[in-house]
C-alpha cells in the first residue's frame, strides 16, 4: 500500500500552519459507514480539516472560506508527490491531475462563490486587465463573498485517487458550456475541457455545485 504515515505527516504539517485538524483512525473499511454522518458528528462546522485513515485508504476533507482560498492549493501536493514517489502515478499524470484540481478549485471560487460571469473576461479595462479580474479582486475583499465556504476532499485508495471540490453557489449546467467547446477563442470552457481530458472519470452532482474526478492508479 502507501506510506500513509508519511502522507499524514505531510498533510498535518501543512494544516497545522493555519487550521485545526483531526485525525480519525478507523480499523475497518470506511465504505461500510456513512461518511457524511461521521463528519457531521465529528467535524465542527468551523473546524477546517478532518482526515480519516482506515484499512481502505485515507480520506481527507477540508472546509475553507473563500478568504483563505490560497491555502487550499498546497493540500493536493503531498498526495501527488507521494503517488509519484510510490510509482502509482507518472509525473506527467500528476501534473495533469494538479491542473484538473486547480481548474475545479478556480471554478468553485470564481463562479460558485464569487458569482463571476465568464463573459466579463472579454471586457477589458484601460490598463489591459479584464473587468472579470477587477471584479474578482473586489469581491475577494467583501465579507458577503469571502466568508462563503468551499470544501475539498481527497480520497486515496490503493487503486484510485478521488478528488472532490464543492461550493455553496447556485450551481451550473455543464451542457451550457459544452456547446462552445469548438470555439478556440471563447472566453470560457477550457478549464472544463482540461478537467475532462486529464482525469479518468469526472461527474457533477445534480445541482452542479460539486465536481468529483477519479484517477486510476498504477497497480
Amino acid at each position: 500500500m502507501f506510506a500513509n504515515d508519511i502522507l499524514l505527516q505531510e498533510v498535518m504539517s501543512i494544516a497545522s500552519k493555519f487550521c485545526e485538524a483531526q485525525v480519525l483512525e478507523l480499523p475497518y473499511d470506511f465504505a461500510d459507514l456513512n461518511l457524511e454522518d461521521l463528519y457531521r458528528q465529528r467535524l465542527d462546522s468551523k473546524k477546517a480539516l478532518l482526515i480519516t485513515k482506515s484499512t481502505k485508504g485515507i480520506y481527507c476533507r477540508a472546509r475553507f472560506e473563500v478568504r483563505e482560498a490560497a491555502k487550499l492549493i498546497p493540500f493536493s501536493l503531498p498526495f501527488l508527490d507521494l503517488l509519484v514517489a510510490e510509482k502509482k502515478l507518472s509525473k506527467k499524470a500528476a501534473d495533469k491531475l494538479q491542473v484538473a484540481f486547480d481548474e475545479a478549485f478556480a471554478n468553485a471560487l470564481e463562479h460558485g462563490a464569487l458569482e463571476l460571469n465568464s463573459n466579463l473576461r472579454t471586457q477589458v479595462q484601460e490598463d489591459g486587465t479584464s473587468v472579470y479580474e477587477a471584479l474578482k479582486k473586489s469581491r475577494m475583499q467583501e465579507e458577503k463573498y469571502n466568508a462563503r465556504p468551499i470544501w475539498i476532499s481527497f480520497n486515496l485508495q490503493s487503486a484510485k485517487f478521488v478528488i472532490s471540490v464543492r461550493d455553496a453557489g447556485y450551481g451550473f449546467n455543464e451542457q451550457n458550456i459544452s456547446s462552445t467547446f469548438q470555439e478556440i477563442e471563447k472566453p470560457s470552457g477550457r478549464g472544463l475541457m482540461l478537467m475532462r481530458k486529464f482525469t479518468d472519470r469526472l461527474y457533477y452532482n445534480k445541482k452542479g455545485t460539486k465536481v468529483t474526478f477519479v484517477k486510476e492508479l498504477v497497480r
Partner: protein, 103 residues
C-alpha cells in the same frame, strides 16, 4: 516577478521563466506583453521553454495577448511547443492559432 524581453531582428522575445498557472505569472506576462505592444512591437514570440505547466488561467492570458495582437494585424508566436504545454495546446487547438517560431 518579471519576464525578460529581448529583441532579435524584427521579433521580440518574451522569456516566460515560470509556470503559467498563477496570477503572479499571468500578471508578469501581461506586463511584458503590454510594454512590448505599447512600444510598437508587432511580432512577439512567447518563449515557453521554461514552462512546465499551463492551466486555463495562463491560456486565457496568452489568448488576451493574441487578440490584442490580432486586432493590430500583428503576430503572436510561441516557441517551443513541448511536453505538457504542447499537449495542452493541441488539446485546446491553440496550436492552430499560434504559429511556432523555429528560429
Amino acid at each position: 516577478m518579471e519576464f525578460p524581453v529581448t529583441d532579435s531582428g524584427d521579433k521580440t522575445y518574451i522569456n516566460i521563466t515560470a509556470d503559467l498557472d498563477s496570477e503572479v505569472a499571468g500578471e508578469a506576462l501581461r506586463k511584458a506583453f503590454n510594454d512590448s505592444f505599447d512600444s510598437g512591437k508587432r511580432t512577439v514570440v512567447l518563449d515557453l521553454s521554461s514552462v512546465q505547466i499551463i492551466n486555463s488561467y495562463g491560456i486565457g492570458k496568452v489568448l488576451m495577448c493574441y487578440k490584442r495582437m490580432k486586432a493590430e494585424n500583428g503576430i503572436l508566436m510561441v516557441k517551443p511547443l513541448q511536453g505538457f504545454v504542447k499537449e495542452t495546446f493541441e488539446l485546446l487547438m491553440l496550436d492552430k492559432l499560434l504559429p511556432v517560431d523555429n528560429d
